[in-house]
Symmetry: C2
Subunit: 365 residues, 2 copies
């Protein structure tokens, strides 16, 4: 019996155009070697100008509003340092949320509080109550094919969230690494597109649309904040790797990102459909939503026991799992009515995924 791993959100090799990237990399170093291997300009440097121009065009924003980092996690770390400097800071996140994000906010000393996620995204009624009780210093959300639940925030809820952010004056970080991996249907607007009255920072990444090994991510904000983030980053790591940024720019300009997205969507769609089918058939109402994109299906189950015991039972049934606790603020760990499970489908064949769900079905109530 082989272990079925419902664990990390790593892209399948089929969704990384390694051969094309190798060619493109060789061409860039042959032509621009001296610049690639030297320090990039330092001193309020936002990143590769061509890459920022292309990202700006993609999102319809000023290139000077784009700040490039070594992966979007590093952008989030720098944003956290920016917004959470000082005592008694409060961050609202989704429950469940991206584990590494919650850990970053906690590391900066903030109190991190989760607001429940339903099949159409964060509970905006609860958010309204919370915000009227206390305005947070930051709200962090993954509105598209959320990691870990797979849920997409509905358009009405997006509008209400942005209205609250504008009216109470708190900044929102929307982290959208999976947004372009939509298999069907139309995307609701990004939060940043809904109203310029709210301070919404968009976090983007090349990891899921091109290559994680490049370690290229970016934050889109206003030009003034972008400069302040750049100054902060220079004091930590001087600059991101020039070659990675140039490769990302060329892949955007030359159409490689676009063609790879088509390939990745075609590859992932049947896995998604099979995953949703297996969960519906075997775990029924545990399914939180039909994602129609991304890497994850989220379920909420009655484990009939405590979390650790359940994960251990799953392990004995040859299923590797990451359960609730990883995806909640530390202060809330263990206090769930139902157990949340993240079920990544991107790296499992339909048969493997179904086998994993069969094994899980045998141990949940």
């Amino acid at each position: 019996m082989t272990v079925i791993r419902f664990s990390r959100g790593v892209p399948p090799p089929e969704a990384i155009p390694a051969a094309a990237l190798a060619e493109l990399t060789a061409a860039i170093v042959a032509e621009h070697g001296p610049a690639m291997f030297q320090y990039p300009p330092i001193g309020r440097h936002l990143g590769d100008p061509r890459l920022r121009t292309l990202v700006g065009q993609t999102y319809g924003v000023d290139p000077d509003a784009v700040f490039v980092t070594n992966g979007s996690l590093q952008a989030l770390d720098i944003l956290a340092a920016h917004f959470l400097d000082g005592p008694d800071k409060l961050v609202y996140v989704e429950g469940p949320t991206y584990d590494r994000a919650a850990r970053i906010f906690e590391r900066y000393g903030a109190r991190v509080v989760s607001i429940p996620v339903a099949g159409d995204g964060i509970d905006v009624d609860e958010l309204r109550r919370r915000v009227s009780d206390r305005v947070p210093d930051l709200l962090y959300t993954i509105p598209d094919f959320q990691n870990p639940s797979g849920v997409t925030l509905s358009e009405p809820k997006r509008r209400e969230l942005v209205r609250l952010a504008a009216s109470y004056g708190f900044p929102v970080v929307e982290d959208i690494p999976y947004r372009e991996l939509r298999f069907r249907g139309n995307a609701p607007p990004r939060l940043a597109e809904i109203s310029s009255d709210a301070n919404v920072i968009t976090l983007g990444s090349l990891s899921k649309v091109l290559s994680p090994g490049l370690r290229v991510g970016y934050a889109i904000t206003d030009p003034d904040t972008a400069l302040r983030l750049a100054e902060r980053s220079e004091g930590i790591y001087l600059s991101p790797v020039p070659l990675s940024q140039a490769v990302a720019a060329e892949a955007l300009a030359g159409g490689l990102v676009k063609s790879n997205l088509d390939t990745a969507r075609e590859f992932l769609r049947p896995r998604h459909d099979a995953a949703v089918g297996a969960v519906r058939a075997l775990l029924g109402e545990a399914l939180m939503s039909v994602p129609d994109g991304g890497y994850y299906v989220g379920v909420q189950v009655d484990p009939g026991t405590d979390e650790d015991t359940f994960v251990e039972k799953a392990k004995q049934a040859e299923v590797a799992l990451i359960a609730s606790s990883a995806f909640y603020p530390r202060a809330e760990m263990g206090a769930y009515e139902r157990l949340f499970l993240r079920l990544p489908f991107q790296s499992l064949s339909p048969a493997e995924f179904r086998t994993g769900i069969e094994r899980l079905a045998a141990i949940v109530r």
Copy 2:
């Protein structure tokens, strides 16, 4: 009249083997593309195993004691987070010291205190008095061709510094990006080589011996601390760029680092000699030491006025300078008897350097 820039410590293009690096990069992505463009293994991951093995061989240490980062500044930031977590921390640095290092320690909330540097390095008698008064949480030193003074710490002083570190039990970070750029004479031992009784962490960088654009640096510590630093780094940026690490490893293994060091030394030696000659002839006793390596000559001058006025006078004389304040802890800025000037010679021809010194000589007392 052209401006003479005594400013940043950027390698001259002649000291970066861009063509060879381009070839090597193309070969690596052709052969190992899938691994280069995917996430590296994450979870207590210290960096590319081959690179760590080669660095370990270079220094005669266990590869598991080597932790690789996106440039050595990032390693220093993570070390600072590790050692300076908590209130009321104290760091001793050299006065003058590397500006970005001092800013990192200050950012983590530590009190940063400088100990004067003479022609043979940090004043160990003053260090002994300070340490007996209060044991620091960290001592930071650049013992070889120091940035910014060009001074090398003498072997007797190294032994005394390490003895103090061992006897009072404080950790020492030795930052050695310039160590291999020795133009003549023999290197004194690294601090970490002197005694295993002291906790000495060595910070290394590929920026001055191969390429700054790769953004590859490393910390050498004990395997246990290396793992803790790796765990910390994963929460900030997941991992360094795999391709940069693979290129660095191949350049070490295939002899490119060694041949480039020969090239760089041959290129820099006459610039160094001319710089020392010009300073001796025109500024006399202002010279702190004959570096015999690295990028910098350091001088201490009587400006006859305050620092800002002097820098402005230099600017009017077409000399761009970075003076004392940048190189001292914030709390000490402005309180110097003589003004310190960093004079980088690596990017100036002998004639340019001499012209700059002539202009300076006309405005100092």
